[in-house]
Symmetry: C2
Subunit: 163 residues, 2 copies
Amino acid sequence: MEDVLRSLGFLCLGSRLKRIGEQLQADTQRVLDRLDVRIQSSQYPLLAALDRLGPLPVGELAQSLGIAQPGVTRAVSLLTELGLVEVTQSNDDQRRRIVSLSRNGQRLVDTAKRDVWPRIEDAVAELCADLSGPLLGQLAAIEDRLAATPLDRRAEKARAVAS
Amino acid sequence: MEDVLRSLGFLCLGSRLKRIGEQLQADTQRVLDRLDVRIQSSQYPLLAALDRLGPLPVGELAQSLGIAQPGVTRAVSLLTELGLVEVTQSNDDQRRRIVSLSRNGQRLVDTAKRDVWPRIEDAVAELCADLSGPLLGQLAAIEDRLAATPLDRRAEKARAVAS
DNA sequence: CAATGTTATATATCAAGTTATGGTTCTTGC
DNA sequence: GCAAGAACCATAACTTGATATATAACATTG
């Protein structure tokens, strides 16, 4: 069965990038599930941003993540309910709500940085290893490699080697 | 403001691909809006698949687009309401519902293939021109170029040159 | 200093993908 | 030839992005 998105090339590059991204996220989610981390893979960038940049107001958080502000507002409410982030009102500007990692959130990030992220990063790096040439060719190679060995299996193998 | 997704590199490649894909689709949508085509850019791959491959049952359509079957079912109902596709029951297998372009749908595709798709394809190709090297670098270049000149403006310029 | 405009966030709604599951219809094996 | 399983599609619920708009706090200006 012909892969139409691939055949259409540049015309549907947006759909194609989204498709590959969704698959990567789903595979990453499976890695996390297996490790008993009960959080969505898509929330990690937000936690990582707070870890890297320190407490931030909602708007700047959105900007640093490259997503729209309402998405951050929603993610923050969710993570607040999970007790991973805290929100405090800014002193000098009552409109701004500063988001920061809670103690639990910081602990989760520290653990993830040590035990989880390197594994995922290695798996993705391996997935993309030795790619070169035009973009469409690289994307096709990534799709082919993912079809042959999903990311979560690559992460498993990496762990087997490491331990 | 640091772009966290970019800094995290391979770790958040999935989120990053989705982000770029969404921006490309949004820009493409703006091109379409300006051309008075009242259809979502994300529906074009489905129409293009039917145009390329002929009438297809729902499952094969999903496979050729690389998305899950419920997504196709929903898109097909939407396009059926718009009068762009038609669904007929298969004769030899009552479970299969064959999706095909309606007369209007075929006309829309023919027009798009002549007037719209080349423009978008050229704009995206130009966006990706001369890219080479590692994947992350190419993605960064695409984001930078998009920030400098959005896709819809590139398509505009292409039209200006062409006409 | 009050009116107006701007900025920061929240809320509502939509879009388009996902997984899980249910109902028909086919197929197969005994 | 029928009972069990498989295949195909629809539906429901969820996720995560988007845009549009409302609200509240701050800034500006006449």
